[in-house]
């Protein structure tokens, strides 16, 4: 069975504290101004009938990858478990992938290459969860192999109502927001 890495983000648990953001920055030694994940707070309604959804967002590691298709050098590629990565040595910083990505998940690193979430594949290969998952004080983030029906992420996605971002883009995102 081919692995399919995915993440479930429990919007009912998440308080939007940004621990995922800060731990990602230090784990991945990101420069000032660069983020691989971020918090979105979406408010609807009028006082006092309001709803609030908080999402810890990142690259959706889509199953259909317009970013990879757009990359002229092969820097953007699909790695283990369907993780979408950028090989910084092949990247010219042309930004074609940034235009193709519907989620604004990519940015230009000061070193000249495009940067984005890697699902902390370096950690995953050592049997550790991504840094954001490990630190999350609300245990909102669940990472794992969606192809394994017994995995916590597969069970959550099977059991809980969820949404993905911009399904109409046809990218088949692999980050699921549990609602």
């Amino acid at each position: 069975m081919t692995r399919r890495y995915a993440m479930a983000v429990d919007t009912r648990r998440c308080v939007g504290c940004n621990a995922c953001v800060i731990s990602c920055k230090t784990e991945n030694d990101l420069p000032s101004g660069g983020f691989r994940d971020w918090i979105v707070q979406e408010v609807h309604g009028q006082f006092p009938s309001l709803t609030l959804q908080i999402r810890s967002e990142r690259c959706n590691h889509c199953a259909e990858t317009p970013c990879v298709a757009a990359c002229p050098t092969g820097a953007s590629h699909v790695a283990a478990g369907g993780t979408v990565l950028v090989n910084r040595r092949k990247c010219t910083g042309c930004k074609a992938c940034m235009v193709a990505c519907p989620y604004g998940a990519r940015w230009v690193h000061p070193d000249g290459h495009v940067d984005k979430c890697t699902f902390c594949l370096h950690r995953v290969e050592r049997g550790q969860p991504p840094a954001c998952v490990e630190t999350c004080p609300t245990r909102s983030l669940t990472f794992g192999d969606l192809a394994d029906p017994a995995s916590p992420v597969a069970r959550l996605v099977a059991r809980r109502p969820h949404l993905v971002l911009q399904p109409e883009a046809g990218t088949r995102p692999q980050v699921f927001f549990l609602t």
């Binding site: 429990d10 009912r12 648990r13 998440c14 308080v15 939007g16 504290c17 940004n18 621990a19 953001v21 800060i22 731990s23 920055k25 230090t26 784990e27 991945n28 030694d29 000032s32 101004g33 983020f35 971020w38 918090i39 408010v43 309604g45 009028q46 006082f47 006092p48 309001l50 709803t51 609030l52 959804q53 908080i54 050098t73 092969g74 590629h77 790695a79 283990a80 990565l85 090989n87 910084r88 040595r89 092949k90 010219t92 910083g93 070193d111 000249g112 290459h113 890697t118 594949l121 370096h122 290969e125 840094a131 490990e134 630190t135 999350c136 004080p137 609300t138 245990r139 909102s140």
Partner: protein, 745 residues
């Protein structure tokens, strides 16, 4: 290895490549092979266990060190408070360690106090100056004329110094400017204050009620972890807040209460519980006194009565009360933490404590648990210093605030203004707390400071209070120093280690070193017989045969498990005078205070003004982290929240209403003006109040990032309403109006 794009192209063009870059077949046009998994290699060569100091919760951390630099900080899975998880501040500790604005050398003032002009000197010169100043104050005014303000773990050493020196005047703004009313109220009702960390079993609650607490934005790690755990298990949340907080966004019931009317709501909730028989009658019969008086007291406090006061729908009051009641005994009324709001705060907290009792929640699973300290011996030392000859001076003349159960920092400030108290304070040691943002009524604080003969500030960053000091002593950060071990009470007693991950940068020194050196200069060396913090802790552990090696390597030693609730066999005992839960407080009656909480209307602000409320961002600990570049990235400045509909009809702005994100100046009822701050127009707040995160609008130029960023709620808190029971400074009694910020060139 990091290599810039440009460097790489040069190497590639030379055709040499390098072993790591080009190896064999399958290359594309770059002459590159394969797509290796990118690894930032931040795990480090070694990992040092310690505990966090970004706030005062004390989570266990693991500092990852690579080639002498801390690369990242992760949660220690062995530590009961962090359980392997950290909040953003804990994860962002490197932003403090590598803050370019850190204090680097001891400083001596070289102009008028407050002009923030200093000269770098040696430690010997700086401590010599402190010693000389202290001796002078002692000769003229006695040793008690020295006060210590302290917040943080290194304060332990300075408290030892005060004991040896002979002054009882040790205080922290964390009592009378924060959790004090709660401590007094729970002591009155259950016989025990709560302290920090609070012994709450949020994880096992079926219903959690937050009253003005914005847990989730207020990021006390373990509590937030448990709140999420409870929600995951299907617990319901009731949130009382004029603002649609993050917690409100998850609540079954949000009660957008009119600020200052909480007591009316709490009495109405008690009314519903008692009228509908939702209270725990057996628990109360066995453990509480004053139920009849309470019943009579709330007989007319109907939801309809409270609705007219609170602005809440009576049905909402009744429905939420029923949910709270139906969830008992695991129905947790959270006690809150920053509880100095309106000057009647002990009474509001009493009304909350009474609800806790009605629900049979104290001492039960999903409620207020028993907790205990890890047994740790004192440092074996002969000759304890004699007790001070004068009592502490934090209460003004006449014995006001009779039920304060900790020292009033505001009282110490007042005693520094001559003739205000039984004797005058003449010198301050300020350890790790920026009184300029922590204390209300800034002119009064600065007046007190100008009366001092000596002000010494010990800090990591050039906080505002340092600018007012005569001597500034740069302390090493928590990642660069050993400290005393931490054994705060918890439901599983434990002890945690503080140990340096890297050596101190610049000429900064750990607190223990500063105190030991200073003690030597004032003839008190005998009272500090330990060689350093590590030997101090090792020796304390050795007394009971506890292992330093185990503590040092894992970061934590766990004590034996204790029964924490009735379900685990912990008997319900109460340390009140009656030995019972005191719903009706005879102690308050004897002191001529209301023995049961009474709602009294708060003063309203001038027309066109909004009540100023403040709170916290999960990324920041008051003003302490504002200069932390890492934490500032997602939350770079505070904003003032204003109801969008109120903004559309704001008097004086009819021609051009305020726009989202526009900079405004807030002007309070006394004419105090804020620095320019962004306005956040939102539906998430009532139209009679505004809200801002505390800690911004700092005036210290040395904190180059924080300087002038956002606005200070503390500055606008020029008035307080003092709680007559325990001396807390109620701060939500200030009102602001809006002015458009004038753009200056």
């Amino acid at each position: 290895m990091t290599m810039s794009r440009r460097q790489f192209i040069k190497i590639g063009a030379a055709g040499a490549g390098s072993a790591g870059l080009a190896s064999g077949l399958g290359t594309r046009w770059w002459g590159l092979d394969g797509d290796p998994t990118p690894d930032p290699r931040t795990d480090g060569d070694r990992v040092v266990a310690s505990y966090c100091e970004l706030c005062f919760w004390g989570c266990g951390v693991l500092a990852h060190v690579k080639e002498g630099r801390v690369t990242k900080i992760t949660g220690n899975p062995a530590h009961p408070l962090s359980r392997g998880m950290l909040c953003p501040r804990g994860a962002g500790g490197t932003g403090l360690l590598y803050d370019p604005d850190r204090l680097k050398k001891p400083l001596l003032r070289r102009s008028k106090r407050g002009e923030d002009l200093f000269e770098e000197v040696s430690w010997d010169a700086a401590l010599g100056k402190v010693a000389e100043g202290l001796e002078k104050v002692k000769q003229r005014h006695g040793p008690e004329a020295l006060a210590l303000f302290t917040h943080g773990s290194g304060g332990v050493w300075f408290k030892q110094f005060m004991k040896a020196w002979g002054s009882p005047n040790i205080g922290a703004p964390s009592y009378a400017q924060c959790r004090g009313p709660r401590e007094a109220a729970f002591q009155l009702t259950f016989g025990t204050p709560l302290g920090s960390p609070e012994p709450l079993d949020i994880a096992n609650a079926r219903c959690v009620t937050l009253i003005g607490s914005h847990l989730g934005e207020n990021m006390h790690n373990t509590q937030v972890q448990e709140l999420a755990e409870a929600l995951g298990k299907g617990a319901q949340l009731v949130v009382v807040d004029p603002r649609f907080s993050v917690a409100a966004g998850k609540a079954r019931y949000w009660l957008p209460i009119k600020p200052g009317t909480d007591i009316a709501l709490l009495l109405a909730w008690s009314h519903v519980l008692l009228a509908e028989g939702l209270h725990d009658a057996a628990y109360l019969a066995a453990h509480a006194s004053g139920l009849d008086e309470l019943k009579a007291h709330v007989a007319t406090a109907t939801p309809e009565w409270a609705a007219t006061i609170t602005g809440l729908d009576p049905g909402l009051i009744r429905d939420s009360a029923r949910l709270i009641g139906a969830s008992r005994p695991a129905s947790l009324i959270h006690p809150g933490r920053h509880t100095v709001w309106y000057g009647d705060d002990t009474q509001r907290e009493r009304a909350m404590a009474i609800l806790v009792a009605l629900l049979g929640n104290w001492g039960r699973r999903g409620g207020y648990l028993k907790h205990d300290r890890f047994p740790l011996a004192g440092y074996p030392h002969a000759g304890a210093p004699p007790p001070p000859s004068r009592a502490r001076v934090d209460r003004p003349k006449g014995g006001l605030y009779p039920l304060a159960n900790e020292v009033l920092a505001s009282g110490l400030c007042d005693a520094s203004r001559p003739g205000q108290s039984l004797y005058d304070l003449k010198a301050w040691l300020v350890y790790g707390c920026n009184l300029v943002q922590a204390m209300p009524d800034r002119p009064r604080l600065l007046e007190a400071i100008q009366q001092l003969e000596l002000l010494v500030a010990v800090d990591v960053l050039p906080a505002e209070i340092c600018g007012w000091a005569d001597v500034v002593l740069p302390e090493a950060t928590y990642l660069e120093r050993d400290d005393d071990a931490w054994n705060g009470a918890w439901r599983r007693p434990f002890i945690a280690v503080r140990q340096a991950a890297v050596p101190p940068m610049y000429d900064s020194k750990p607190g223990w070193w500063i105190v030991k050196e200073l003690a030597g200069k004032v003839g008190l060396a005998d009272h500090f017989p330990w060689t350093d913090a590590r030997e101090f802790v090792k020796t304390r552990l050795a007394v009971k045969g506890q292992s330093w090696e185990a503590l040092s390597s894992t970061g934590v030693l766990l004590g034996p498990e204790i029964p924490t609730c009735e379900e685990e066999g912990a008997p319900l005992t109460f340390e009140t005078e009656s030995g019972k839960i005191e719903l009706y407080s005879k102690e308050l009656a004897d002191l001529d205070f209301d023995p049961l909480p009474v709602y009294r209307p708060q003063e309203e602000g001038p027309p066109g003004s909004f009540r100023l409320l403040s709170g916290r961002s999960p990324l920041h600990s008051f003003g302490r982290t504002v200069n932390n570049r890492l934490l500032a990235e997602p939350y770079p400045e505070n904003e003032v929240w204003l109801n969008a509909d109120a903004a559309a009809h704001l008097a004086g702005f009819e021609a051009r209403p305020l726009a989202q994100g526009e900079r405004v100046v807030l002007v309070n009822q006394d004419g105090v003006r804020s620095t320019p701050v962004k306005v956040k127009l939102t539906q998430r707040i009532r139209n009679d109040c505004v809200y801002m995160v505390h800690g911004w609008g700092q005036t210290a130029r040395g904190q180059r990032y924080a300087f002038g960023r956002g606005a200070s709620d503390a500055l606008l808190t020029s008035r307080v309403k003092i709680d007559p029971i325990m001396g807390g400074t109620g701060m939500n009694v200030n009102f602001v109006r809006f002015e458009r910020a004038v753009e200056t060139a």
